[in-house]
């Protein structure tokens, strides 16, 4: 029998505590309760902005942690999403990556919110994320939280199908100087130098990096040689600072800028000079009871100019204005000689509170205002700014009804000048069969408002103010919100002393009013235009299975399988008259990426050598508005070793991406051949 007793050490402590207790009470300090001792240290926060464990979250979550990032064969952030079920990651060209979840992956994949430390990097001007400008180095990522499923109830309109939060490393985690470099195939040339230290009361990490590659090798298109000019060269500067004026207050700030010189397009490439900068501040205040209030403000600015070569109309048409086939009533002239500069700017301010309302009830409530402004003669046919201010207010509640039942409910109300006021919500119930097995059912009703580009696009080639030579894309005047109704059943299980975790998600997503393009007649040279409008309907059904096995610190195994089916239509051609149904539909089923499989294994030997491999299989796919690509299996390999010296370390790695036959990326002529990347890293503490 082990009766608790006054052992000597306890007498020692007790004697002082008996004396101390009245003193502390007299000092007005609250007594310590079991809540102080059992307090949860945050684990996952992206889903509801509440600190929750995976068993409590109302959605499926994949966490790419530091261990996985270091062991992975990724050379770029987007490579990491090849480890996430339901995600498609592809190269539109060497300078542009596409990442999408479930939805059709086109050149500018939308419907996915991407944040860096809570700052949205989704660009209104492209209705997509420009991965090359976000300026985050792989080595500076602490972890990535990926919510698989709509997260609009917490993140707003753009977290329509999924949401990603890239959490960068705290400046406190590192010290001293770090130099990193990668060289290899496709003229890959990446280097970064960063310093972590202190300036006065601020801890910071400051990084200067350059990244570049020459993209895909020249290929062929319809039997003809094709010069692929899709290289990119970018220079980034980023600093992350942390100031903790008191225990219950901390302020984090970030500044960054990226300057890129890249080529964009497919088959025809245009040089783009792009600048991106951001400023971010996040003030956190903790209350005595552990409640939190946050004020988050940021500003993003994207500015680019395309080096479009002015051309004569006759050169474009291949007809001289003296020819009887000259189609215009006006003489030849030089076009594409106007302003090719575009700009996108975002200001966002959010106030958020995390409260424990009762023993079993927690809430995160927030209110925010955002202003987006875009300017582009090319995209909007006007030199004027186009601006929109939107407001959002949300609350997410977690009610632990019993030890076995957790309910989550969230609602967000958004107000925009373009589409008025609307509300998205999510309801979820987690049933904890026991600590190791959790079942989840959830429903989502979400809306996605059209971006400034989708709402205002007017892409025209003009002869003058009165004569339009070619209308490429024009936005319909009354585009409505996209709508999603989704249902999911989830399961999270832990086995073998929690060394093995299993996550399954069975889902059904009904997407309505999806914004795409329909072809319509237009009085220009080719007599048609694409009208951006609510043209698509999609039903997506599928299953995702993810397993992570970490039997020891030396061995890591991650795997997933995803199956999805899209059924739906796109209105390809407008009806002959307003009010009539679409005259030609396109079946969207063939654009569905039906099966993806991924497996990553990593083993670290006692001497410090780490071997990793990743296998990815994608079924055949016809990319929406691009090419059919065949199914492929890609195998990546990596060997890395670290040597520790006194106050310094050296890390060498060799990564082989696609150690097999070339496969196609987005366009048939984008052939991803075997790439060898040599990595070198030195740290001085």
């Amino acid at each position: 029998m082990h009766l608790p007793s006054f052992v000597s050490i306890n007498r020692l402590f007790l004697s002082s505590l008996i004396i101390a207790a009245p003193a502390t009470a007299a000092n007005g300090i609250d007594m310590l309760t079991e809540d102080d001792l059992l307090v949860e240290i945050p684990i996952v926060s992206n889903v509801t902005h509440m600190q929750q464990t995976l068993a409590q979250t109302p959605a499926a979550v994949t966490i790419i942690d530091r261990q996985t990032i270091q062991a992975s064969t990724a050379v770029d952030i987007t490579d990491l999403f090849r480890l996430v079920p339901g995600f498609q990651t592809y190269y539109v060209n060497g300078s542009r990556r596409g990442v999408t979840y479930h939805a059709l992956g086109d050149k500018y994949p939308r419907r996915l919110e991407v944040k860096v430390d809570g700052r949205s990097v989704y660009e209104s001007l492209f209705s997509a994320v420009t991965w090359s400008t976000i300026g985050v180095e792989l080595d500076e990522i602490d972890h990535i939280e990926i919510v698989r499923g709509a997260n609009a109830a917490a993140d707003g309109s753009n977290a329509f199908l999924a949401s990603i939060n890239i959490v960068t490393r705290s400046p406190l985690l590192d010290s001293g100087l770090s130099f990193r470099a990668q060289v290899g195939s496709a003229q890959t040339r990446n280097a970064a130098i960063s310093y972590s230290g202190k300036v006065g009361v601020v801890d910071h990490r400051t990084t200067l990096s350059v990244r570049g590659n020459d993209g895909f090798d020249d290929g062929t298109f319809r039997g003809q040689p094709l010069a692929i000019t899709d290289d990119i060269e970018s220079v980034s500067f980023a600093t992350k600072g942390l100031w903790t004026p008191s225990a219950n207050n901390n302020i984090e700030f970030q500044l960054g800028a990226t300057k890129s010189d890249l080529w964009v397009g497919g088959r025809d490439y245009v040089n783009r000079d792009m600048s991106y900068q951001y400023q971010y501040v996040n003030w956190n205040r903790l209350s005595e009871k552990g409640n939190k209030i946050q004020l988050i403000g940021y500003h993003n600015n994207l500015d680019f100019e395309d080096a479009v070569i002015p051309q004569k109309i006759s050169e474009v048409l291949g007809v001289d204005d003296t020819s009887p086939f000259w189609p215009l009533p006006v003489p030849d002239k030089t076009i594409f000689d106007g302003d090719n500069r575009s700009q996108s700017e975002r200001w966002d301010l959010e106030l958020r509170t995390s409260l424990k309302l009762a023993d079993k009830l927690r809430a995160v409530t927030g209110a925010a205002v955002r202003n987006d402004t875009v300017t582009s003669q090319t995209f909007f046919d006007t030199p004027d700014d186009i601006s929109e201010t939107s407001y959002r207010a949300y609350t997410n509640l977690e009610w632990t009804q019993s030890a076995k039942l957790v309910f989550n409910g969230g609602v967000i109300v958004e107000d925009r000048e373009s589409t008025g006021t609307y509300a998205s919500y999510r309801l979820a119930e987690n049933y904890l069969f026991n600590n190791d097995h959790v079942f989840r059912v959830a429903i989502n009703r979400s809306f996605r408002a059209p971006t400034l580009l989708e709402n205002n696009q007017m892409r025209l080639v003009r002869y003058n103010q009165d004569l339009i030579l070619d209308a490429t894309v024009i936005s319909d005047l009354d585009i409505e919100n996209e709508e999603l109704q989704s249902y999911e059943i989830g399961y999270a299980g832990y086995f073998i002393n929690r060394e093995l975790s299993l996550d399954m998600r069975l889902y059904y997503e009904q997407l309505r009013n999806i914004i795409d393009e329909r072809r319509d007649q237009y009085p220009d040279l080719d007599n048609f235009v694409n009208i951006r409008d609510n043209t698509d309907t999609q039903d997506i059904k599928g299953i995702e299975i993810q397993a992570v096995y970490i039997p020891s610190d030396q061995f890591l195994l991650r795997g997933f399988y995803s199956h999805s089916n899209i059924s739906g239509t796109n209105c390809h051609t407008s009806a002959p008259a307003v009010g009539e149904p679409c005259s030609r539909y396109r079946n969207l089923a063939k654009y569905s990426l039906n099966n993806t499989l991924g497996l990553m294994a990593s083993y670290t030997f006692d001497g410090g050598l780490r071997l990793s491999s990743t296998v990815n299989h994608n079924s055949a796919l016809e990319h929406f508005r691009a090419d059919n690509v065949e199914s492929f299996t890609r195998i990546d390999l990596k060997a890395a070793k670290t040597w520790d010296f006194n106050r310094s370390s050296v890390d060498l790695s060799l990564t082989v991406q696609n150690a097999g036959d070339p496969y196609q990326e987005y366009y048939q002529f984008n052939l991803f051949k075997t790439r060898y990347i040599l990595g070198f890293k030195m740290n001085f503490y």
Binding site: M1, H2, L3, P4, S5, F6, V7, I9, N10, L12, F13, L14, S15, S16, L17, I18, I19, A20, A21, P22, A23, T24, A25, N27, I29, M31, L32, T33, E34, D35, D36, L37, L38, V39, E40, I41, P42, Q67, L172, L173, D174, S175, D203, L242, T244, P245, S246, A247, N248, L286, S287, E288, K289, G290, T400, S402, A403, S552, D553, Q554
Partner: protein, 329 residues
């Protein structure tokens, strides 16, 4: 006056005595039968019906039912009102409070039966004992006992020494509530031939700037549990700094461990229940109250952190076996 034969006079006396004796025997028999069959009534009063509280309650019941299948009867109340409690107390032989709020309610009515408080910190128990009984000693005299939730720091210090045998400097963070422990801790650490490096922090201090110099020169760092604000507000920075300077952290909760500490010594609900069941089973423990250190404890390690710090971990039992006799279970 009538003369009565003594024998005759005795007869009614004998008859009455016999009847009385038989009655007494019957009474003794029925009482002893009743007492023999009567189960010990344990009244559980929990602060709330959250998972940890329910687990403690169920596990204590499970322990006692397994050992004495017919010995106990249980009644459970979750944060009852004073009136509700007053109606349940008369039938109880023991009261077990689970959580601080439950202790607060029960102490306020000063039950006549022995009381055991669990899932409560030493700090909270002593504050409540003073509030309702005038002092801890008075509470003990009223047969009020507590098994504290917080583990003795000595376990963490010895574990630190076992995990980092070359350690010389042990860093300890104290908050406003734990600051009075410093002299005792200092003596204990010195007894182990270690050098204590204390850092005290309040809500007004800059946590990074206060903690960093001490953590940096420590071989192992032990944050002492304090108020929720201090615990939450410092945990993240302590763990980040510990990663930066490769200084292992010995934590006081499983949650802290998962967030990045090397090891944790803490009382799990099962440990709390184990201690409570032992107390209930031991008749000596009810004659006088007392404040007891938990005999049971959980010892867990974060293998990823150990690998990062290049610390080779042994099996949990190794460390339990190596603990000095006075802090062993």
């Amino acid at each position: 006056m009538a003369f009565t034969h003594p024998a005759k006079r005795l007869k009614p006396f004998r008859r009455a005595t016999v009847i009385q004796l038989i009655g007494l025997l019957l009474l003794v028999f029925t009482c002893s039968y009743a007492f023999a069959d009567r189960k010990t009534a344990v009244l559980f009063v929990a602060s709330k019906s959250a998972a940890d509280y329910v687990e403690v309650l169920n596990t204590v019941q499970g322990h006692l039912e397994a050992r004495y299948p017919q010995g106990y009867e249980f009644k459970s109340k979750f944060r009852p009102s004073g009136k509700e409690l007053a109606s349940d107390l008369p039938g109880a032989d023991f009261v077990v409070t689970i959580g601080t709020a439950a202790a607060d309610i029960v102490f306020s009515v000063k039950p006549k039966v022995p009381v055991l408080s669990v899932l409560i910190t030493e700090n909270a128990f002593l504050a409540l004992a003073e509030k309702y009984y005038g002092s801890a000693e008075n509470a003990f005299a009223s047969r009020v006992s507590s098994i504290s939730l917080d583990q003795p720091v000595a376990r963490s210090i010895e574990l630190a020494k076992l995990l980092v045998p070359d350690a010389r400097d042990i860093g300890l963070m104290l908050g406003p509530a734990s600051l009075p422990r410093q002299p005792e801790l200092e003596r204990h650490i010195a007894d182990m031939s270690l050098r204590p490096q204390f850092v005290s922090i309040s809500a007004k201090d800059n946590p990074i700037h206060t903690i960093e110099p001490v953590l940096r020169r420590s071989d192992v760092f032990i944050p002492i549990s304090d108020s929720r604000l201090i615990n939450i507000a410092t945990a993240k920075w302590i763990l980040h700094l510990s990663y930066r300077y490769k200084v292992p952290v010995i934590a006081f909760s499983k949650s802290y461990l998962k967030a990045g500490a090397l090891a944790a010594v803490y009382s799990s609900p099962a440990d709390v229940a184990g201690d409570a069941a032992e107390w209930l089973k031991n008749p000596k423990s009810k004659s006088n109250g007392g404040l007891y250190v938990p005999a049971y404890y959980s010892l867990t390690f974060n293998e990823s952190v150990a690998a990062n710090l290049k610390i080779k971990l042994n099996a949990e039992q190794f460390y339990r076996d190596q603990f000095s006799q006075e802090i062993k279970q």
